[in-house]
């Protein structure tokens, strides 16, 4: 019920009602990435779009799909023979503004104790 209502009143959760209608009319599902985002294509106009699984955040598109959705390549990742190297890490969206955001060493928001600097002193404790 909540997801149903969100379609009406928000644009940043998955898809809006208009997108749902457009996708039903024109869209042909090309594939799904590891985050569950669905990628569609209009065979007539070669228009490509994504319906996010959750918050609509452009940086959630992983690199393989990034190339396809921006017409850099016509071969979508599922049809690709590419095997990721073992050192390749899973894709992370932009975490700015979330609790997982990067905090540099010395940041006040960093839970780790900050490194010692020249102005520090060593207090005496009994």
């Amino acid at each position: 019920m909540k997801a149903f209502l969100l379609q009406f009143f928000t644009w940043w959760n998955g898809q809006t009602l208009g997108t749902r209608f457009y996708t039903w009319r024109k869209g042909k599902l090309v594939g799904t990435d590891e985050a569950g985002n669905k990628y569609y294509r209009d065979p007539k106009t070669d228009r490509r779009w994504v319906i996010y699984n959750g918050v609509a955040e452009a940086s959630r598109v992983p690199p393989g799909w990034y190339g396809w959705i921006r017409h850099q390549t016509d071969v979508p990742p599922p049809e690709e023979t590419y095997v990721p190297r073992e050192w390749q890490k899973p894709h992370l969206p932009n975490l700015t503004g979330t609790p997982q955001a990067y905090r540099p060493p010395g940041s006040l928001r960093n839970p780790q104790p900050r490194p010692t600097v020249a102005g520090d002193y060593e207090p005496w404790r009994p």
Partner: protein, 694 residues
């Protein structure tokens, strides 16, 4: 005076001036690397070349005196040129040769920004390189925990060699090889043993010798400079405290011809890491035998509760070796208001008494005056550890005039020869009776110095020793010459005696206070940074410690009120000569700590005896009103021999025990030095060396 033409301008200079000095006297700057005013002339860097009319080649102006110049064919005054194309080209050539083997290290060199070679390269450097061969490589030498070497950068000016041999008196550095293969070395890869070795860092015109504790910590242009006064010994060397933000990054000497010239001791230069360790940064109150953190009001209330209803005679105060005159004055006022006569600033128990006149506890001949002395008698002191820079003056006098030095006390290495006259007061009495060769020399001397150390004055017969020394100093002397030199080693001592931080009528002195505390006859004891006491033995007394470092006093304390170290407060220090000097604040005290005078003022309010000043200026004004001579900053007191007459008439039985020197470990004499890792390392090494020597 000799007439000489410099760049066509006629000027009169003494004939013993070098051309370099003559040029400087008319305001011409001469580049130099090896030449230094306080060292012998080496003349090996060739940077100061000048043209002398009639001479076929440019001459090294640092080694060529005005008297060496020949007049013209018709008796015209000699003519020199400092800025001709020849001179410029010659200097440029010299610099190019120097840079052939100098690494391009400037971005990672600690000297960067204050390097003579950098500066001269701006003026005389080539814009391109003509040297495509490999640069010379020199192995770095180990010079101990204080001086870091990077010998590739060395330009063989030999200033460090000359300094250690001439001023410090420990010829431990030398040069091997010649020309390109010349290396500065200790020969044995052993640490330097001089207590003045840090000065070679300042002397080095390049970054070959740099400070090891300061290595890669800061750049000179990041630092803020504060001109202050050293408290590590009682000479009161003038220093510059360099800070970056809240941290003291290094300490450098300031020029004062009458005091430290341009040297400072290693303890002064390298103790700064102690300013950031073992700091008291919050108040503590002892609850059930354990010190618990407390807020300022809680700590004050604990003191007030303890003081409530206690008679003045059961309260006492002791001031330590680093206290400023203002603090001691304020604490003295507070003790007067509490009705307590028991206060003392002489925590080593020295028998000096301000009632005998100011001349009885000052180094009257003055540090600079040693250079006029014709006979020096050292009694119960090792000036090399108690006042290293004063010792270099005696050494300088010995080097220039061969002054006769006698020594009564422990036999130590003073870096110059002396006549050993005996170990105890008996030898002093023998000198007074006129026995021996040295006694005759001392009696005949016009400007003798009788240097009395604290080792001879902290004994039960201290006053008798002092009186005997005063009688030795008196006699048929040069006009106004007062030869009695009491050598202090605590920066606060003279200030404490000046503001009268001594027992009032019927009060207890240091020894009395400690005994009363052990015997349970004392209820409350204030320690103003006093850490040199046998603090475990203060009995059941309630101890209030005001200070900056967690040292002996803080361990024993029942209430700790955190104060400021000397770099964190303004204050007046009086050196062993009686010269009043001002220390300035370079940083702020850490955490909750406050300046000591403010702590005393706030405490006085809580215990109901409000002190009559609300600002530091008001306190200082009150002190100046009470002790007018403390307002005469940087003035050397001139107290003539007549001021010693009453002291000389004091009798007293001389003891039989030999004099012991006051300082056991040079590097660990005060709470700041004891908190410093660098000083601990030096101390461990000095002890190791002593053991190896035995």
């Amino acid at each position: 005076m000799t007439k000489i033409l410099i760049n066509g301008r006629e000027t009169d200079v003494p004939p013993d001036f070098t051309l370099l000095q003559a040029a400087e006297s008319v305001g011409i700057e001469v580049p130099r690397f090896c030449f230094h005013e306080r060292l012998s002339v080496a003349g090996n860097c060739r940077m100061c070349l000048m043209e002398v009319k009639g001479s076929p080649k440019p001459v090294a102006s640092c080694a060529w005196t005005v008297r060496d110049c020949r007049p013209g064919p018709n008796g015209e005054p000699p003519e020199i040129f400092t800025a001709t194309p020849t001179v410029k080209k010659a200097r440029k050539g010299v610099l190019e040769f120097l840079l052939i083997n100098h690494p391009l290290d400037c971005p990672i060199c600690d000297q960067g920004g204050e390097c003579d070679l950098q500066d001269e390269t701006i003026a005389y450097g080539m814009d391109h390189n003509r040297f495509y061969e490999n640069k010379r490589a020199v192995e770095d030498k180990y010079l101990g925990p204080l001086v870091k070497t990077s010998m590739n950068r060395c330009i063989q000016c030999t200033r460090c060699v000359r300094f250690l041999a001439e001023v410090a008196g420990v010829p431990e550095l030398g040069a091997t090889g010649r020309s390109e293969d010349m290396e500065i070395t200790t020969y044995l890869e052993a640490a330097l043993t001089s207590e003045l070795q840090g000065n070679v860092i300042d002397l080095c015109p390049v970054g070959a010798l740099t400070s090891k504790p300061y290595a890669f910590k800061a750049r000179p242009w990041e630092l803020e400079h504060t001109e202050s006064v050293d408290v590590m010994d009682a000479v009161g060397s003038n220093i510059r405290v360099d800070t970056r933000g809240p941290a003291v990054m290094r300490i450098l000497p300031r020029l004062n011809e009458e005091l430290n010239e341009e040297w400072i001791t290693d303890k002064t230069r390298f103790h700064w890491d102690g300013l950031a360790t073992q700091r008291l940064d919050r108040s503590y109150v002892r609850v059930d035998g354990k010190l618990q953190p407390a807020s300022w009001p809680e700590a004050f209330r604990a003191v007030a509760a303890k003081l409530d209803g206690v008679p003045g005679s059961r309260i006492a105060a002791l001031a330590g070796d680093l206290a400023t005159a203002e603090e001691m004055f304020a604490l003295g006022l507070l003790m007067d208001r509490l009705g307590s006569p028991n206060l003392d600033s002489r925590q080593d128990g020295t028998k000096l008494d301000p009632a005998l006149g100011r001349a009885s506890y000052l180094f009257n001949p003055s540090v600079d005056g040693i250079e006029d002395a014709d006979c020096v008698l050292i009694v119960g002191s090792n000036p090399r550890t108690e006042a290293s820079l004063l010792n270099t003056r005696v050494r300088k006098r010995w080097r220039t005039a061969g002054v006769r030095v006698g020594m009564i006390g422990a036999e130590v290495d003073l870096t110059y020869p002396y006549e050993y006259l005996g170990a105890g007061p008996a030898s002093l009495a023998a000198i007074e009776r006129g026995e021996g060769d040295f006694a005759a020399a001392l009696r005949a001397a016009k400007k003798p110095v009788v240097l009395v150390g604290q080792g001879a004055l902290t004994r039960p017969d201290g006053q008798a020793v002092l009186a005997a020394a005063a009688r030795l100093a008196a006699g048929d002397r040069a006009d106004g010459w007062n030869g009695l030199g009491v050598l202090h080693h605590a920066a606060a001592r003279v200030g404490g005696l000046d503001v009268g931080f001594v027992p009032r009528a019927g009060g207890l002195g240091t020894n009395g206070i400690v005994q009363a505390a052990v015997g349970g006859r004392l209820d409350v004891l204030f320690l103003l940074g006093a850490d040199e006491l046998p603090s475990g033995t203060l009995g059941p007394t309630f101890v209030v410690y005001i200070g900056s470092h967690g040292d002996a006093g803080a361990h024993r304390a029942d209430v700790i009120l955190p104060g400021a170290a000397y770099t964190e407060k303004n204050g007046t220090y009086v050196n062993t000569e009686g010269r009043v000097q001002l220390a300035k604040r370079a940083a702020f005290p850490p955490g909750e700590a406050r300046e000591d005078w403010a702590v005393l003022r706030a405490l006085s309010d809580v215990i109901g005896h409000r002190l009559p000043f609300d600002s530091f200026e008001a306190l200082r004004a009150a002190m100046h009103k009470a002790v007018p001579h403390l307002a005469q900053v940087d003035v050397l007191p001139k107290l003539g021999p007549e001021s010693l007459a009453s002291l000389g008439r004091l009798g007293g039985e001389l003891g039989r025990e030999a004099f012991r020197n006051a300082i056991a470990d040079y590097y660990l004499t005060n709470p700041i030095a004891r908190a410093s890792k660098t000083m601990a390392e030096c101390s461990a090494m000095a002890v190791g060396m002593l053991q190896a020597a035995e």
